[in-house]
Amino acid sequence: MSLDPSYLEYPRRGRGMDHEHYPYSSLFDRNPVEWPDGKKLMIWPVISLEYFPMVPNDDPFRAPGHMQTAYPDYRHYTAREYGTRIGIYRLLGAFEKVGAKVSVATNSLIAERYPQLVEDIVSAGHEIIAHSTDMNGTIASGMAESDEKALIEGSLASLQKATGIRPRGWLSIARSQSFNTAKLLADAGVEYMCDWANDELPYKFQTDAGAITNIPLNHELSDRQIINVQQHSVDSYAQQMRDAADWLLAETEQYGGRMLPMHLTPYIMGLPYRISSFEELVADFAKRKDIAFARGEKILDSWKAQQ
């Protein structure tokens, strides 16, 4: 019994990371970031707007939240549609009440199927981030590069056609990438991606097609993780977000501006029994003078101007 000798060889064991995408950097050793208008903490809401075809695709993997029963899975198909009919408007309403502009990570098929919804989002001043084509548009290694390129281009082109604006940001389904994704995004002119959760400020991510910025969208602080996966109440979610904001604000005293991602799912947070607690959280944050809500592109522009 033994392992192949190569298992005890470590070709990438050396200074820095085991890849070329970014150098090591401690958050606490960087030049302090200053956000516009003297704000200390930028809260970045990202609402995922998802269309789940009732025939799921398992290649390369089935998206979280997808169909679960034998065909026809009316239960999950319609419960997800609840998010795009009702839940999204509750979430947008919570932000409109305080005048906040947010990012909406949108499957391009949503723009094709529900143009009124996308018009409502864009005309209110929110940002559309490209979020693949539909919830069958998952990405992982093993996918042909040409297929992945077509998926990315298709999503961007369709959203551009629907809104008149080429999306500047990209969020992969389940934040899942292949080894080619970042390069293909950079090549397609995408300025930032939200998939890598390793930091709490934007950072430059190198690819063979040039650099792209990664703005970390903390998956641990998503409603999906806290409410669906860990099964906490919405009140506990709100407490956790408040604790996070308090901690980060305290850090700004010494280390400069911080950001707090707030990843939301309409069919999760937009339920009647959850939304009031969420609205209260948003209203509380809006009242604090050192906190602002921001779209991803605003964080990107501000951060980039200081590099």
Binding site: M1, Y7, L8, Y10, L27, S141, Q240, A244
Partner: protein, 297 residues
Amino acid sequence: MSEAQKSDPGLYDYLPYRGRPKIEWPEGKTCAVWIAPNLEFYELDPAVNPHRKSWPKPHPDVVGYSHRDHANRVSHWRMAEMMTKHGFPGSVSLSVALCDHIPEVVEDANQRGWEFFSHGIYNTRYSYGMDEVQERAIIEDSIATVERTTGQRIRGWLAPALTHTPRTLDLLAEYGMDYTCDLYHDDQPTDVKVKSGQLTAIPYSLEVNDHYGFFVYNMSPREYADTLIRQYDRLAEEGGQSGTVMCIPLHSYLIGQPHRIGPFEAVLEHIAADGRAWITKAGDIVDAFRKQTGGAS
């Protein structure tokens, strides 16, 4: 596996909790408390071990990898600063390749006076399936790498990703290691039966590991803090009969997240203020235990 598998690994003799000799900690403290930060490096595209997958998803597992990379870029610094603020040293479970990749983190821990033990080369390289020569190689690599980087001779072991072979404990003792963190049968130290030398199992309190708290039991940050306080209160009380050990095993990428680190502070405040805690490092606990029990258990 070609070697015979045993139903009873014969690690130690049964010793009921009642009627044990009294273990005394310094200055009349009843519970020895140690914190074990896991300072790790995970590979983006590791070699494949036929006995266990490294990542649940095809490489690159972006969420898995980047979540853990948060430790070295962000959350180690938060966690370490809070431990120092409240007077808690670390006994580090170290992926020794971190010494090569990100020595900044290892040096920070060393400067804080923390102790190091090995948690393997990477937390994406497992011991399952290793032959004796291979297993000796990772032990020797661990000893040499940590000594070169920190000047410390490692005294303990927590198997990489908790992957063992039936010969691991004998080899650790042969190399002069004093303790293992891999056995979860007790709230007090136990000497383990090994072929040569002496090896003590120190309680690592896996059930209150932050990974268990957050991802096995799905606790909120405040529930986890409350859990640690209850764990401590009970062990400090029972330790009046015979000294107990509580470990707080941490991963900074979990405990150092912005929604968790604030609630966690209440735990350190509680234990530091209580008066019954001997707040120390793993090696000191093993030394104090051995002074009282000698070579035999």
